[in-house]
């Protein structure tokens, strides 16, 4: 009897141990998944903040939702090899695939209402892919992914003080606001520069490392146009124009220019442009040869995740590419699951 009493006491103790192990493991799992931290900035929260008042654009990218595909080549001139051993900088032509787009969560937005224009690009060289997504302002609106989330929340609020409060907390936004007010509008995707804004590290053949940013500068002459004049040309003028321009005038070109940071230049903050006079290297030319509608086009299936990099290019201390990768993946998962809301030609919605 004494013996069995001991047994049941130790049995009870063992059950407590088992329960504690399982409970602890489950709690740690829930914590890691963020279920116990509603304040954590997750890709879901970023995507919720991007959604326009009318709801998320089902079947479309959650941001830069309006766009049109292109294919072409990247003509590397070989100069980039001084900075990076990536195959894509070896002199030669490499297939390119991309997407002109508008910085809006509304796939039906009127072109003249969207200030930011973008370009997604994938270059394939030596079996490796290099993906990027660039925009036309020369610096980013905010310093951190958290600030970008806060900007989306503040700009979506009806309260006029929300933006004021945001700008007080994020003074770097003032430069972007000035750009948005003063930079000329154009009536063509072909006349825009596209800036990578984020800093990356190039590794050369000798193992030397270089912090760089890159831009695509248009060969087409820039013809400024007023916002009202652009609006008169129609809601989808930019897509019609680029189709017509490539059909009538042939391939469109951009020079890819990489800018090398001096020691001490801010690599972690894309809202801070580097000072003038930095070393620049023209590494090649993007040639856009053919335009295709997104619905059935080759860019539809591509997530222009800026962390997809060839050997010879890696991430820097800039926090944005990681955050963008996380959010873009979530956006891709969602739109792939909603493909029937944006049916390809010939696949009727069930």
């Amino acid at each position: 009897m004494n013996n069995s009493g001991n047994m049941s006491r130790s049995g009870l103790g063992s059950l407590v141990v088992i329960a504690a192990v399982l409970g602890g493991a489950a709690a740690a799992f829930a914590y890691t998944a963020g279920w116990l931290s509603p304040g954590r900035l997750t890709p879901e929260r970023m995507i919720a903040a991007l959604a326009p008042p009318g709801g998320a654009p089902l079947g479309h990218r959650r941001n830069h939702a309006k766009g049109i595909c292109f294919t072409g080549v990247f003509e590397a001139n070989g100069n980039g090899r001084a900075l990076s051993r990536a195959k894509v900088f070896e002199r030669g032509n490499y297939p390119a695939l991309g997407r002109f787009n508008l910085g809006t969560a509304d796939p039906n937005a009127v072109d003249a209402t969207v200030r930011v224009r973008g370009l997604g690009l994938q270059i394939t060289a030596g079996g490796e892919e290099w993906r990027m997504a660039m925009i036309n302002p020369p610096f980013f609106a905010v310093s951190t992914p958290q600030s970008f989330h806060d900007l989306l929340i503040a700009s979506g609020k009806k309260d006029p003080d929300a933006m004021k409060t945001f700008i007080q907390a994020n003074p770097e936004f003032a430069a972007f606001a000035t750009w948005a007010k003063t930079a000329p509008w154009t009536a063509s995707y072909a006349e825009e520069p596209y800036h990578g804004l984020n800093s990356f590290i190039f590794t050369d053949a000798e193992g030397g490392e270089h912090a760089v940013r890159w831009s695509l500068l248009p060969a087409a002459p820039v013809v400024p146009i007023s916002q009202t004049e652009l609006e008169k040309r129609g809601p989808d003028f930019l897509e019609q124009e680029i189709v017509e321009r490539v059909r009538a005038s042939g391939p469109q070109r951009w020079t890819m220019v990489t800018t090398v940071a001096d020691p001490g230049d801010p690599t972690a903050d894309p809202s801070k442009a580097w000072p003038e006079g930095r070393r620049t290297v023209q590494v090649g030319t993007l040639v856009v040869q053919q335009i295709e509608q997104e619905r059935d086009g080759p860019c539809r299936d591509i997530n222009f995740d800026p962390t997809v990099l060839p050997r010879g290019i890696r991430l820097s201390d800039d926090p944005f590419p990681a955050a963008r990768s996380s959010v873009y993946r979530k956006s891709y998962d969602l739109r792939a699951a909603e493909a029937s809301d944006y049916p390809r030609t010939g696949t009727a919605k069930p």
């Binding site: 998944a33 997750t42 879901e44 991430l315 990681a322 996380s326 792939a336």
Partner: protein
């Protein structure tokens, strides 16, 4: 087959604990990485993909060892229901170990993401991009991942039940080191 042994072969025990640590790490990295936008995100993805492919190779070795060495017999006095549960849960664990990396690779392929592991090892895509396939594979990977974690917890609970309550030698058969447990196996 060597059913008379009371313990798994040392290489089987080693592989069991090595894979256990990796699988638990995989489950935590998996739920952690998809809920963050921090600079750790790309590294977590890289580790998850590299470890996943490694585990796929390890489970193949482990199955071969299991076929070669077999497993110690369960105690004769183990109730029939528990015996059945043990058999089914082990089958399920092996199933998860095989299917989870395949679903993971498949969902990356179906999304047209290049799969590049640590060390620059490229895994060629065996599936074309497909919205429908990606959605199916991705959902399966996520929900089977949660189920896998639940099953791992059940497995841990059963192991502790054998080690602490029944003390029937079952835990000793897979324990990494000989235990000081003096209780004789319950034959």
């Amino acid at each position: 087959m060597n059913n008379e042994a009371h313990r798994f072969a040392p290489i089987q025990r080693l592989l069991h604990w090595l894979m256990a640590a990796c699988i638990i790490a995989m489950l935590f990295i998996g739920v952690g990485m998809v809920s963050t936008v921090t600079p750790e995100y790309p590294s977590l993805i890289l580790i998850h993909e590299t470890l996943g492919v490694t585990l796929l190779l390890l489970v193949a070795i482990r199955l071969a060892l299991r076929l070669h060495y077999g497993a110690p017999r369960l105690p004769a006095d183990l109730p029939h229901a528990i015996r059945l549960a043990a058999r089914l849960s082990h089958l399920a664990l092996y199933g998860f170990m095989i299917i989870m990396p395949l679903l993971g690779l498949g969902m990356l392929w179906a999304a047209a993401y290049p799969v590049v592991l640590l060390g620059g090892i490229q895994i060629p895509a065996l599936l074309p991009q497909s919205d429908r396939a990606h959605t199916l594979l991705w959902n399966s990977h996520v929900y089977l991942g949660f189920t896998f974690f639940a099953l791992v917890l059940l497995h841990v609970a059963a192991a502790l039940f054998h080690a602490l309550i029944r003390r029937d030698g079952v835990f000793r058969s897979i324990a990494p080191l000989p235990l000081r447990n003096t209780t004789a196996p319950a034959e």
